[in-house]
């Protein structure tokens, strides 16, 4: 058993409560504490990424061994796909926490902020590592409830309204998920994902199975803000403090939404053609509608939030194409290419969308507005913000040599090879519209001349903010290396293998 696995949950959880206690005594130093905790997690997750490879490591919490090969305890599982998402969570988490050191001075109650931040990270790490349906739900609630509080952190009218909307829809999602878990438990008498797969393999009632699948898809779809379930996202992501927006858009919707959907629909449910066509359709809809909702926005963070819906659409569509091909059992090499494109875009989106939200935060920090019409000419006074946001904008619009180009290229190639010509065309069009809306962002925020009266005393943001933005922009360039075969083999292939082979995940867990 790999002793590192529980540490991913224990360290941030203990950190959250230590911050609350230490905050009474050490005062100022407290704000570096959260960054320190997350730095440790970054090191752990990168170490895990380097060592996991093709292996699947299992952790039986409390040392409960299976009885007659039926797992009875809580299992934590770490495989190729898990470590990728763990790396995303902890790297973006560390950079956001470091960015907050200067940014969060505007708010009172910094201790609560860092404590909730660590709780959110603990919950997301738990969701990703859990091999058990009910623990996914518990950790999901930990991370989502702390995110409700963080969205409302400004306690102004807008923030409270957004948080309320988020809570209502999030509560609905949790209800659907718990209902689905209840139905699964009723039929299978087990909660372990691998064991559920084995029990369902032995035979099941078709309509019951479909009902459970729909419940799970709509529940986690609400968390992931796929298009018919997206109403809460633009409000919640634009009202939160900027480092939290970066966490929500860059990480939370992936870890508790997309990750769980991919994990459940590949590794728990049998891949069926009907479900995979539904998932692809939803993905395509979010990709197209999200971008057209985004282009008319003048509030930068709202614009970015709508783009999150659209970019997540790429991921879901691409993985859905992979699922369709897997369900037909034909041409596995194209299916693996499509899934690779989806996961690659998932990683890239975390980097550039995190960066864009941090940029938006930097602009808001200096000039105090989020309205594009009131900005202009910031390129001279804020060179670092301007340069990094240019990299991020080009990257999200798919301009070479940045990372977004390569992942979109892989997605489009996979769609063409799988003979989904319409989807490939839509992906190209959406990419062009994205470019248009980010050119608008660049022009109005950084290059447009305005009659800005206080242009002279606009300064570049403090060091911690610049540091986080520069690191993320370097990541935006470096992640395009994942397109090269050697690096892709090492990082993406283990994740794709575990998803592609329907029985591999469950047989490895129940077999150990």
């Amino acid at each position: 058993m790999n002793p590192l696995i529980p540490l991913f949950v224990v360290i941030p959880l203990a950190g959250a409560f230590l911050i609350m206690i230490l905050g009474r005594f050490i005062g100022e130093l407290n704000k570096y504490f959260a960054s320190l905790i997350l730095l440790v997690l970054v090191i752990l997750s990168i170490y895990s990424l380097a060592t996991t490879g093709e292996n699947l490591s299992l952790y039986k919490v409390g040392g409960w061994e299976p009885v007659n090969k039926i797992p009875i305890g809580i299992y934590m599982v770490m495989d190729g796909f898990t470590v990728i998402v763990l790396c995303i969570i902890n790297v973006i988490g560390f950079l956001s926490a470091f960015y907050s050191i200067s940014y969060i001075k505007r708010y009172t109650a910094e201790n609560y902020f860092y404590a909730l931040f660590c709780l959110m990270v603990a919950g997301m790490n738990g969701v990703v590592l859990s091999g058990d349906l009910f623990n996914i739900f518990v950790f999901l609630e930990i991370s989502v409830i702390s995110s409700y509080a963080l969205v409302a952190f400004g306690v102004e009218k807008n923030e409270l309204e957004a948080s309320f909307k988020y809570q209502v829809l999030g509560g609905l999602a949790s209800f659907l998920i718990l209902y689905g878990i209840g139905f699964i438990y009723w039929k299978t008498k087990t909660l372990n994902i691998a064991d559920i797969k084995e029990v369902f393999n032995a035979g099941y009632d078709k309509s019951y199975y479909l009902f459970v699948q729909i419940l799970m898809l709509s529940g986690f779809g609400l968390k992931a803000a796929i298009i018919p379930f997206h109403a809460w996202l633009p409000d919640a992501h634009s009202s939160a403090p900027s480092p939290i927006s970066a966490m929500l858009s860059g990480v939370l919707i992936k870890a508790v939404g997309i990750y769980v959907i991919i994990r459940l629909f590949f590794n728990m449910f049998a891949v069926s053609e009907g479900m995979s066509v539904l998932i692809t359709t939803l993905g395509t809809l979010s990709m197209v509608i999200g971008v057209f909702l985004a282009i008319g926005q003048w509030d930068i963070k709202r614009l970015l939030a709508y783009h999150s819906i659209s970019q997540m659409g790429y991921v879901v569509m691409s993985v859905g194409i992979g699922m369709i091909l897997v369900s037909r059992g034909a041409r596995p090499e194209i299916a693996s290419l499509a899934i690779a494109g989806g996961i690659f875009h998932l990683i890239n989106h975390a980097a550039f969308k995190g960066l864009l939200f941090l940029n938006a935060g930097a602009i808001e920090y200096t000039i105090g507005t989020r309205d594009l019409k009131e900005m202009g000419g910031l390129a001279k006074s804020m060179p670092a913000t301007s340069a990094t946001s240019f990299i991020a904008s080009m990257s999200i619009s798919g301009i070479p040599p940045f990372n977004g180009f390569f992942s979109k290229l892989i997605i489009i190639i996979a769609a063409i090879m799988a003979k989904f010509y319409l989807l490939a065309l839509l992906a190209v069009i959406v990419s062009i519209v994205t470019l248009a809306s980010f050119l608008k962002f660049q022009r109005y925020a950084f290059f447009n001349k305005t009659d800005n009266k206080n242009e002279n005393h606009i300064k570049e943001v403090p060091f911690p903010m610049v540091f986080s933005m520069v690191v993320l922009s370097i990541l935006c360039v470096l992640l395009s290396l994942l397109a090269f075969p050697e690096i892709r083999e090492a990082v993406l292939t283990p994740a794709i293998d575990i998803l592609m082979d329907p029985g591999k995940y469950s047989s490895q867990i129940t077999g150990i």
């Binding site: 058993m1 002793p3 529980p6 224990v10 959880l13 203990a14 409560f17 230590l18 609350m20 206690i21 009474r24 952790y59 039986k60 919490v61 409390g62 040392g63």
Partner: protein
């Protein structure tokens, strides 16, 4: 916040102690009978809430009590986490391992670490429910000022 009449105060004084004891009973028998840390913690918090409702309290006292209960809450959850991590240090070195001697089934001191978990979860739940209650009152008082 104002207190209530003498009759209510006297009755509450008589009852609150018993409610408190009952909560402790539920917690320490958590591994033997239905109930446990959560149920008992709620009952204990109930006894405090009864007293506050009956006797009333001024604003400053409430704030002090709230910061105290927050501290207890944080400490209790850290102890639970420490007990869980202690499994990594002893025995077969597994997170959440029950490495204490198990004792005889049915006795009060048995089941290894379970009573300890119950006690600290009880403190945690009692403190957090009290904190929520106090936070709501403080919020109401702040509005009325």
């Amino acid at each position: 916040m104002k207190g209530m009449t003498l009759i209510v105060k006297k009755t509450t004084q008589l009852i609150a102690g018993m409610v408190f004891m009952y909560g402790i009973y539920i917690i320490v028998h958590g591994h033997l009978t239905p109930g446990g840390g959560f149920a008992g913690g709620v009952v204990i918090a109930g006894s405090f809430i009864l007293l506050i409702l009956a006797f009333g309290s001024d604003f400053l006292n409430l704030v002090k009590e709230e910061s105290g209960s927050t501290l207890y809450e944080n400490l209790a959850i850290l102890v639970v986490l420490f007990l869980a991590v202690s499994g990594l240090l002893f025995g077969t070195r597994v997170f959440f391992l029950n490495w204490f001697p198990k004792g005889t089934v049915g006795q009060l001191v048995s089941a290894g670490m379970l009573p300890l978990y119950n006690i600290f979860v009880g403190i945690e739940v009692a403190a957090s429910i009290l904190t929520i209650f106090l936070a709501l009152i403080i919020f109401k008082e702040e509005i009325s000022e």
